[in-house]
C-alpha cells in the first residue's frame, strides 16, 4: 500500500537537521495541524452559512445575499462581527455559571471531534486507535451542555427545549453507534484512516455505501437528528418554543451555539464522506491512473497531487452532503416529537440491529467482499 505524503516526518526531519532535538521538533510540530484544522473548521462554517442562505434563497426563488462582497460572500463575516459587538444579557433569575458553561460545553466537543477526521493517509491530526468510537463518546457530551443551558436559563421555553434536545440526542445516538459498528466490523478497525483505506482499493465501486446501503441511510438520518437540522429541529422549533434552549442567549454565547451547530453539520458530513463515500479516495484509484501514465507511484510530484486531490475530494463529498442537508430543510416538514421518538426507537433501532447482524452474517459467508 502506498504510504503517501508524510508532512510530519519531513517537518521533524528538517527541523532536527537545524540542530533542534527530536522531542522539541515534535513539540513545535504538534500545534500546527491543530490550529490549521481549527481555522479550516471555522472557515467551513462561514462557507456553510453562506451556502445555507444562497441555497435557501434559490429554493424559494429569491436571490439571497448580494451586495456585501462578491455574491454576498462577506455576509457570514458581518454576522460574526455583529455577534461580537452585541450586549451579553444574562437573565436576572438565571444561574450565571451554568448559563456560561452550557455553550462552552456544546462547542468544545464538536471542535475536538475534528481530531479524527482524515484528509489523507497522513493528513490527520492523529491516527488514534479508537477513532470513530472517540467521536461517538465526544458527541454524547454535547447534550449535557444543551440540558445545562436549558435548565440554567430559568425560562420555560428553554427548559422544554433543553429536555427535547437531550431526548433527541440520546434517541438517535444508538442507531448512529450501531451503524458505525457495522462499518467497524467491515474494516476490522475503529481508526478512520483504516476505514478509508479499506474502501479506497477499487475506486468508486469499493466505497462502503454499496456494501452498507441500509447503514448509510440510518447514519444520515441519525446524523441530521444529532445536528438538530430540519426535519428534526424540534429543540429550537420557533413556532412552539420561541428558540428552545437558545431563547435567553444573546451576543457571543448565542454565537457559540450557532458556531457549534454548523461545525457539527460539517463534521457529520465529513464523517459520512469518510465512513461511506471513500473519504479522500478518488472515484478512480490513483495507482491505476499512475499505471496508465507510466509514472512511479512514489514520485514526489504524484504524492503532492495525490494529497491535494485527496483533500479536495473529502471536502467536495462533504459539501455535497451539506447541500443535500440544506435542500432537505426546504423539502421536508418538521416532524412531531412523538413521531421523532417513534422513528428513533421503533424504526431505526431495530433496523440498525438487523443491519449489524446482516453484516456479520455476510462477513461470515463472503469474507473477501466484507473485509476478510
Amino acid at each position: 500500500m502506498d504510504v503517501g505524503i508524510d508532512l510530519e516526518g519531513s517537518f521533524i526531519q528538517s527541523v532536527t537537521d537545524l540542530g533542534v532535538p527530536a522531542g522539541a521538533a515534535k513539540a513545535i510540530w504538534m500545534p500546527l495541524p491543530m490550529i490549521l484544522m481549527l481555522i479550516g473548521a471555522t472557515v467551513g462554517v462561514l462557507v456553510t452559512t453562506w451556502l445555507e442562505r444562497k441555497i435557501s434563497a434559490a429554493a424559494q426563488q429569491r436571490i439571497g445575499p448580494e451586495y456585501m462582497g462578491p455574491f454576498g460572500l462577506l455576509v457570514p463575516v458581518a454576522d460574526g462581527l455583529k455577534l461580537v459587538f452585541k450586549e451579553d444579557v444574562v437573565p436576572a433569575k438565571a444561574d450565571p455559571l451554568l448559563f456560561t458553561l452550557g455553550p462552552i460545553l456544546v462547542v468544545i466537543p464538536v471542535f475536538l471531534s475534528y481530531l479524527i477526521v482524515p484528509f489523507g493517509q497522513n493528513l490527520a491530526i492523529a491516527n488514534v486507535g479508537t477513532g470513530v468510537f472517540l467521536w461517538i463518546a465526544l458527541s454524547s457530551v454535547q447534550p449535557i451542555g444543551l440540558l445545562m443551558s436549558g435548565y440554567a436559563s430559568n425560562n420555560k421555553y428553554s427548559l422544554l427545549g433543553g429536555l427535547r434536545a437531550a431526548a433527541q440526542s440520546i434517541s438517535y445516538e444508538i442507531p448512529l453507534a450501531l451503524a458505525v459498528l457495522a462499518i467497524a466490523m467491515m474494516s476490522n478497525s475503529l481508526s478512520t484512516i483504516d476505514i478509508v483505506e479499506q474502501q479506497s482499493e477499487y475506486g468508486l465501486l469499493g466505497w462502503n455505501v454499496w456494501r452498507q446501503p441500509i447503514g448509510f441511510i440510518i447514519f444520515w438520518i441519525a446524523a441530521l437528528a444529532e445536528c438538530e437540522r430540519l426535519p428534526f429541529d424540534l429543540p429550537e422549533a420557533e413556532e412552539e418554543l420561541v428558540a428552545g434552549y437558545q431563547t435567553e442567549y444573546a451576543g457571543m454565547k448565542f454565537g457559540l451555539f450557532y458556531l457549534g451547530s454548523y461545525v457539527n453539520l460539517v463534521l457529520s458530513a465529513l464523517l459520512v464522506a469518510v465512513l461511506y463515500l471513500g473519504g479522500w479516495s478518488l472515484p478512480i484509484p490513483i495507482s491505476m491512473v499512475a499505471g496508465w501514465l507510466g509514472v512511479s507511484e512514489t514520485s514526489p510530484w504524484l504524492e503532492i497531487i495525490d494529497a491535494s486531490l485527496g483533500i479536495t475530494m473529502t471536502i467536495l463529498k462533504a459539501y455535497f452532503l451539506v447541500f443535500l442537508a440544506i435542500l432537505l430543510r426546504w423539502t421536508v416538514p418538521r416532524v412531531r416529537i412523538d413521531q421523532l421518538l417513534d422513528l428513533g426507537w421503533k424504526f431505526l433501532l431495530p433496523v440498525a440491529l438487523v443491519n449489524l447482524l446482516l453484516t456479520a452474517a455476510l462477513k461470515l459467508a463472503f469474507p473477501i467482499a466484507f473485509g476478510g
Binding site: 462552552i104 462547542v107 468544545i108 475536538l112 486507535g129 420555560k156 451576543g251 447482524l357
Partner: protein
C-alpha cells in the same frame, strides 16, 4: 509518558479547542456595551411578565427513554470490541452475539408492549 500513543494529540487538541470559547467570550467582553437597565434582564415569556419560575417539579416524559437508552448504550459499548475482532473469532462469536442481542431485543419488545415507548 503515555501508555497509548497518539492520545497526547487528544490532550493537546483539547487545550487548543478550549481557546475557541475563551477567545470568543473575552473578545466580546472587551468590545460589547453593558449595563442598560434591569428591564433587559427579565426572563422572556412572549412579552408578558413571567408567571412563576421554570425550576419546578413536573413530569418529564423522556424519563423512560433515558432508562432504555442506558441499556442499549451499554450494549453498543459491549459490541464494539466484538465487531473489531470479529474477523478472528468466526461463527461461534456470531452465535454468541446473536444470543446477546436477542436477550436485549426481548427487553425492547417488553418495553414496547408495556407502552414505555409511547409519547402519550
Amino acid at each position: 509518558m503515555f501508555v497509548l500513543s497518539g492520545y497526547e494529540y487528544l490532550l493537546g487538541f483539547l487545550l487548543v479547542c478550549s481557546l475557541v470559547p475563551a477567545l470568543a467570550l473575552s473578545a466580546s467582553k472587551l468590545l460589547r456595551p453593558s449595563g442598560r437597565g434591569p428591564e433587559r434582564r427579565i426572563t422572556y415569556e412572549s412579552g408578558m411578565e413571567p408567571i412563576g419560575g421554570a425550576w419546578i417539579q413536573f413530569n418529564i416524559r423522556y424519563y423512560m427513554f433515558a432508562l432504555i437508552f442506558v441499556i442499549f448504550d451499554v450494549e453498543t459499548v459491549f459490541l464494539y470490541p466484538w465487531a473489531v475482532a470479529f474477523h478472528l473469532l468466526g461463527l461461534l462469536a456470531f452465535v454468541e452475539a446473536l444470543i446477546f442481542i436477542a436477550i436485549l431485543v426481548v427487553a425492547l419488545v417488553y418495553a414496547w408492549r408495556k407502552g414505555a415507548l409511547e409519547w402519550s
